[in-house]
């Protein structure tokens, strides 16, 4: 599984980092999210799917 955060959609709601803190890191200055890794480890796939569902801006995509 690969994960991306669309920086033009992310508004810094921070739910992804609450749900999958190993996969999403928040910028210190504005709290916007970016993936720590493009390739999601198998044991994090469920958490990432949950982050996708929970994003208020629908800014996260997986492939």
């Amino acid at each position: 599984m690969k994960v991306k955060v669309d920086a033009t959609r992310c508004q810094g709601h921070t739910l992804c980092a609450m749900i999958a803190p190993r996969i999403f890191e928040l910028d210190d200055e504005d709290g916007h999210s970016s993936p720590t890794t493009e390739e999601v480890p198998a044991d994090q796939e469920d958490a990432v799917r949950e982050a996708v569902r929970s994003c208020p801006e629908q800014a996260i995509s997986i492939s």
């Binding site: 810094g12 980092a17 504005d30 949950e50």
Partner: protein, 456 residues
């Protein structure tokens, strides 16, 4: 520019619904009205307040809130710009209208303000304050712990957000009492009453105090949000005092009553559901985050915002005309069964909770990280120190209407008394002032990364 609320022709507004969120009936029948609108007209035209659109469905709210290129937040108080009326429906009286900071602006000005304030309000910035928040909560609970009685609104949920906001702004913490009362009372007091005249007097004192601090900080800068605003360049200009006072009033308005409202409602529900309270306390490590989001969804302290359509366009299946007014209901979108299974039930472990309580799009609540942190620290200490509290429904007072804030005025509670752990509020605020000054806690995270240390 057609800012008069012309009633749209029938063919572009098939859905009509008489919507008045400022009536007590709207609060009492909220679930029914919401259900009816979702089923019949998730996007409707209402004839109230000069006529305006109402978006109640999650899909419609999502699409509209993320169309900032076609919807404006602008509040043109001088009347020489767009002529739009900002985020309130009905619009403020134009003679006394004050622009609600950057929430009533469009980019690029709006973006420049947020860029100025973000390094003070990001998750990393807010984390540094947690020891201060904990100490304030501790002191509030210690004031009451030996008596076995506390009003969770007056004695806790009003105080902590207010004192913390003072600290972050760079205003002496002890001034919180001047700011607290009018900020809450202005929301819940009915207009055109003698009580409102008193609230206006208190608001004058607040503005006088605030203007004094702004002037002082302009002369001699100190850490905090106000200092940052005095140094900010917004779209190539230096904003004047009136504009900055509007921005600071937005921070105060956003920082006080909303967090109070969320905390009071959550504590009321947990008091009514002691098994869920015990579960949250025992499983807080993996439930506190989801429970917080669920309380945010269900109680939606700030129930919505207005927009003005800035160009003829089609969004979410409706045809809008430039100048149309629109109400985006975060509160009703949060109960949409298309997104939230069993939307009228509180599920502390809810998954996929992409609620709208902090708004969506470029105007997302800039204080959301502060709100979450303050809420969580208050709830956790209450669970630890007053685990058997019982609220008194007879003496509980909710806001009569939920058009502006879904809030509470009183939540008196009894519990098994416990031992004090430290000094009371006044002494604690004095000590925290010293800590704020010495450690320069109100600096942005770009200048200071370390968390506060509670010393002495």
């Amino acid at each position: 520019m057609s800012v008069d609320n012309a009633v749209p022709d029938e063919d572009r507004t098939g859905n009509r619904y008489h919507f008045d969120r400022h009536t007590p009936e709207y609060r009492e029948r909220f679930s029914d009205i919401t259900q009816e609108m979702h089923a019949r007209c998730p996007l409707a035209w209402s004839d109230t307040y000069g006529g305006h659109w109402v978006a109640a469905g999650a899909r419609e709210v999502f699409e509209l809130a993320r169309s900032a290129d076609k919807l404006s937040n602008d509040h043109d108080v001088t009347g020489d710009g767009s002529g739009y009326h900002g985020i309130s429906i009905p619009a403020q009286q134009s003679s006394s209208a004050i622009r609600g900071g950057f929430l009533e602006m469009d980019p690029p000005d709006q973006r420049h303000y947020r860029q100025t304030l973000n390094p003070y309000l990001s998750p990393a910035a807010v984390n540094r304050w947690v020891p201060v928040i904990d100490e304030l909560v501790r002191a509030c609970l210690d004031e009451k712990i030996e008596s076995g009685r506390i009003d969770f609104v007056d004695d806790l949920a009003n105080i902590v957000p207010a004192v913390l906001t003072m600290a972050m702004l760079g205003i002496p913490l002890a001034r919180w009492t001047i700011y607290n009362e009018p900020t809450h009372a202005a929301v819940y007091t009915p207009p055109d009453t003698p009580q409102m005249d008193h609230v206006r007097e208190l608001q004058m004192q607040l503005h006088h105090d605030l203007a004094g601090h702004l002037a002082e900080i302009r002369r001699s800068s100190r850490p905090g949000l106000i200092g940052a605003l005095t140094r900010a360049e917004i779209n190539g200009r230096k904003p004047d005092d009136l504009e900055l006072l509007g921005v600071i009033a937005l921070i105060i308005g956003g920082g006080f009553d909303t967090t109070t409202a969320l905390t009071a409602h959550a504590l009321e529900w947990l008091g009514e559901n002691p098994a869920q309270r015990q579960r949250l306390s025992g499983e807080r490590e993996h439930l506190l985050d989801s429970a917080t989001e669920e309380f945010l969804r269900f109680y939606t302290p700030a129930p919505g915002d207005a927009r003005t359509v800035s160009q003829d366009c089609e969004i979410a299946g409706a045809r809008f005309k430039e100048g149309d007014r629109l109400w985006l209901s975060w509160a009703m979108a949060n109960r949409d069964p298309a997104v939230f299974a069993e939307p009228n039930r509180i599920d502390l472990a809810r998954k996929g909770n992409r609620h709208h309580s902090f708004g969506l799009g470029i105007h997302r609540c800039i204080g959301s990280n502060v709100a979450r942190a303050v809420f969580k620290r208050m709830v956790v200490q209450v669970l630890d120190r007053m685990p058997d509290y019982v609220c008194d429904p007879e003496q509980t007072v909710h806001y009569q209407t939920i058009g502006v804030i879904q809030g509470m005025r009183k939540l008196p509670t009894t519990f098994t008394p416990g031992r004090r752990q430290g000094p009371g509020i006044e002494e604690t605020i004095g000590r925290l002032q010293g800590i704020c000054d010495e450690q320069r806690l109100a600096e942005p995270v770009t200048k200071r990364t370390a968390a506060a240390r509670i010393t002495g």
